[in-house]
């Protein structure tokens, strides 16, 4: 296995220049998630209008995988309805659990397909999912508000 399949250029770019990494002053839901196995933490704000996610902002510490993944997700899922976001998120989880057997549908996952290599490193899957789980959690909270 080549490390470059894990650390694709896209990932390192997002890591160095993360999108939406600045908590918005207002939000419909705010969540704080932790990865207890490595200590990474993230705080994430989500705003929605009429069932459509209009803003995801976040702050946190973590490895390149977790930071790039939330950066990608916070861009990809904005403008999507909660249903669409959930479907995309499910696709992403499936990709992560594929043990290197899937490449991901770029039409759906866009930049997130760059994380496909993570599925070959079981210990890193939680890193890649941290942000997505936070968004999922925030979506539920925003919807039940």
């Amino acid at each position: 296995m080549n490390l470059d399949t894990l650390y694709q250029e896209v990932i390192l770019d997002h890591y160095k220049n993360p999108l939406n990494k600045k908590l918005s002053p207002t939000f419909d839901a705010q969540v704080h998630h932790i990865n207890p196995s490595c200590g990474d933490e993230i705080t994430l704000n989500l705003t929605a209008v009429d069932g459509v996610i209009t803003a995801i902002t976040w702050d946190g510490v973590g490895c390149s995988i977790s930071q790039a993944s939330v950066s990608i997700a916070s861009d990809l899922l904005v403008g999507k309805s909660f249903e669409q976001a959930e479907a995309i998120s499910d696709d992403f989880v499936e990709l992560m659990q594929s043990k290197g057997k899937k490449v991901g549908d770029e039409a759906v996952l866009e930049d997130a397909v760059a994380l496909a290599g993570v599925s070959q490193y079981p210990a890193r899957i939680k890193c890649a999912l941290l942000g997505w789980m936070a968004i999922k959690d925030a979506s539920i909270q925003a919807q039940t508000k």
């Binding site: 932790i34 196995s37 490193y121 210990a123």
Partner: protein, 414 residues
């Protein structure tokens, strides 16, 4: 039937050795601990030689491999007992599993469904192994709950007529053995489980003597917690299983605390990871869990039904031959319905300890004493018995060796 215990024995290296100056090993003590097939030994050795690292604790290749093997073993054990993967908790032994459930309930705060206090009752039976009796005595003492129990009939069966008196609105836990390690009795569960669930109680099954010997499916049994030991299941020492329904594991507080079982920790507080991690503090007994995975693979390849059938036939044979000896009295059911291969007996005029010693001199390994079920043996008026317990590698020739041994002992101690 293609099953042949003499062939099976070849998988177990211990049968290549001899006992007491060259005698063939006749191992009739599997109720205490089972022998190990080479595949189980190899699984442990391969782990140490090739993949040893702390599971769930490293981003390096060895740690990944260790994690995969460890979690793979969990999946095997889950499939073996018909459970979901995350419902299987690795412990060090059935004793720890049962203590885990009892102590964790003791940790439940007011409002938690497992919280116990004065007025609550815990129901066990008179045929429990100390491991499924003392933890509940202690829990009762700590919480103010009352311990009640099923009596055992003279023929060694649970007295099911007591269900209505025993299992009431006050009952919170019914903890029962699936098969008695002394009597061989297999307890019928459906009526008890239904009664327990009707009053909102949970059923904890001590399956130490059933999981190794017959197909046990936790979903079919409809129980709530189950405990068994690896070492009695042709697996390694130092590993046991605690299974619990996932909704219950979510509510049950943890028992041992420490590394890898937390969600968050400060100097004064901690929150918990989801099960099974919540119940597996510390670097786990990886090699042993992996060995247990190989053990259930081994048993599954033969087939638990085939094993149960074999033991059934052997037990019937041995019971008949024992009862042919006038001086022998069998302690436990004489009919083969719901009866497993643990046969306890006494021989008039010979103390079990002396009989065991004599049999040992003939290469025959049995267990003598109260078999960690002292209240039972006392209530039956036989403080000590001799127990032969059968397993897949035993054969009719083993039974005959025992019968010969008993007869020789009668001559020796005449």
């Amino acid at each position: 039937m293609t099953f042949n215990p003499i062939e099976v024995r070849k998988d177990f290296p211990i049968f290549t050795r001899t006992i007491r100056d060259g005698k063939r090993l006749v191992y009739l003590d599997s109720g205490a601990t089972a022998q190990k097939p080479q595949s189980v030994i190899d699984a442990e050795v391969d782990f140490y030689r090739l993949h040893n690292a702390a599971a769930h604790r490293g981003a390096h290749q060895l740690a990944e491999e260790a994690t995969d093997l460890f979690e793979g073993a969990r999946a095997k054990v889950a499939a073996f007992i018909g459970a979901a993967v995350d419902e299987v908790v690795f412990t060090k032994s059935a004793t720890e599993s049962l203590n885990l459930v009892a102590y964790a309930m003791g940790n439940a705060p007011v409002g938690n469904r497992f919280h116990l206090s004065t007025g609550d009752e815990i129901v066990v039976s008179q045929m429990e192994h100390h491991a499924n009796l003392i933890p509940w005595q202690q829990l009762a003492a700590r919480t103010g709950a009352v311990l009640r129990w099923f009596d055992v009939t003279p023929e060694g069966r649970l007295d099911l007529s007591q269900i209505p008196q025993l299992i009431t609105d006050r009952t919170k836990v019914v903890a029962l053995t699936h098969q008695s390690n002394v009597l061989g009795t297999i307890n019928p569960l459906s009526e008890i489980v239904a009664a327990a669930h009707a009053v909102g109680a949970v059923v904890v099954l001590d399956a130490c003597q059933s999981v190794p010997h017959m197909k046990v499916d936790v979903t079919e049994l409809d129980i709530d917690f189950l405990a068994f030991s690896g070492h009695k299941t042709v697996g390694p020492t130092g590993v046991g299983v605690m299974w619990g329904r996932s909704a219950l594991l979510e509510e049950l507080p943890p028992f041992l605390t420490g590394g890898s079982m937390i969600a968050d920790v400060s100097m004064t507080t901690a929150t918990w990871a989801p099960a099974p991690a919540k119940f597996e503090a510390g670097v786990p007994n990886m090699a042993q869990a992996i060995g247990l995975g190989a053990a259930v693979d081994y048993l599954s390849a033969i087939g638990m039904d085939v094993i149960a059938q074999h033991e059934h036939a052997l037990t019937q044979d041995l019971l008949a031959k024992l009862l042919d000896i006038n001086e022998v009295a069998v302690v436990g059911p004489l009919n083969m319905g719901n009866r497993g291969g643990a046969i306890s007996f006494t021989v008039a005029g010979i103390h079990p300890h002396d009989l065991g010693q004599f049999l040992d001199s003939q290469g025959i390994a049995v267990r003598t004493g109260h078999h960690c079920a002292w209240p039972l043996t006392r209530s039956l008026g036989v403080p000590a018995t001799t127990r032969a317990s059968l397993y897949l590698y035993n054969s009719v020739e083993d039974n005959d060796a025992l019968i010969d041994g008993v007869k020789s002992a009668m001559r020796y101690f005449k």
